[in-house]
């Protein structure tokens, strides 16, 4: 599943640590989500989408495969 977390974060010139603090998760978890190694829970997926002002299906695309980091 591809996601746009890295793309949205870099657009806002945020560091992974800043995003992690805003979402209440660890920096390692943000890294794992961005690289597609970890699929967040539904509440966390909603929190990420809300944080970037997008819908969950815009943020996470199940039809696209993660191409790696």
């Amino acid at each position: 599943m591809r996601n746009r977390v890295r793309e949205q974060r870099t657009q806002r010139e945020m560091s992974q640590a800043e995003l992690a603090a805003a979402l209440g998760v660890s920096r390692q978890t943000v890294i794992s989500i961005e690289s597609g190694r970890y699929l967040p829970s539904l509440p966390l997926a909603f929190a990420i989408a809300r944080f970037f002002g997008l819908t969950v299906d815009k943020m996470f695309d199940p039809d696209e495969e993660e191409t790696g980091t």
């Binding site: 209440g24 660890s26 829970s41």
Partner: protein, 151 residues
């Protein structure tokens, strides 16, 4: 009670407490066992201090040691514990099997481990929702619902 203890201190204190109780048990044996007990207590305190230091690190292990794990880190811990449980079950099964084969008297602890882990698994199924399946919404209850198309 845990809420009153700072998260970073919880695991180190748990290690220190459990280790001290175990070292105390050795001390109660009497004889020369007190030397082992002292060595054990020193080891436990070193382990507790090491855990406290690691709890301050910015890593998955640090978050787990510091009791501040997020959902992914909790899942990692859960999966690791499940793996440990599987290994315990397999080791206990091998222990019983070998014990039976050589007619050993020492195989009963393996049976206890197997029984406890098996019971804990069933308890987990019961606690975490297997019994909450309920009735499906579309189960045939014998009442005929009129079709909107037929009216």
């Amino acid at each position: 009670m845990m809420a009153f203890i700072r998260p970073r201190l919880r695991k180190p204190l748990g290690i220190a407490l459990a280790g001290t109780v175990f070292a105390g048990a050795w001390a109660l044996r009497g004889g020369d066992a007190w030397q082992l007990s002292v060595a054990m207590e020193v080891t436990v305190l070193v382990a507790a201090i090491t855990t406290y230091v690691r709890a301050g690190e910015d890593s998955d292990e640090g978050a787990l040691a510091g009791s501040r794990a997020d959902e992914r880190q909790k899942m990692l811990s859960l999966r690791s514990r499940a793996l440990g449980w599987n290994f315990a079950m397999i080791a206990a099964f091998i222990g019983i099997t070998v014990g039976v084969a050589v007619q050993a008297t020492w195989s009963w602890p393996f049976l206890v481990i197997l029984a406890v882990t098996g019971f804990a698994y069933l308890l987990g199924l019961s606690n975490y929702g297997v019994a909450e399946e309920g009735t499906a919404d579309d189960t045939d209850t014998g009442h005929q619902a009129p079709s909107p198309a037929s009216s």
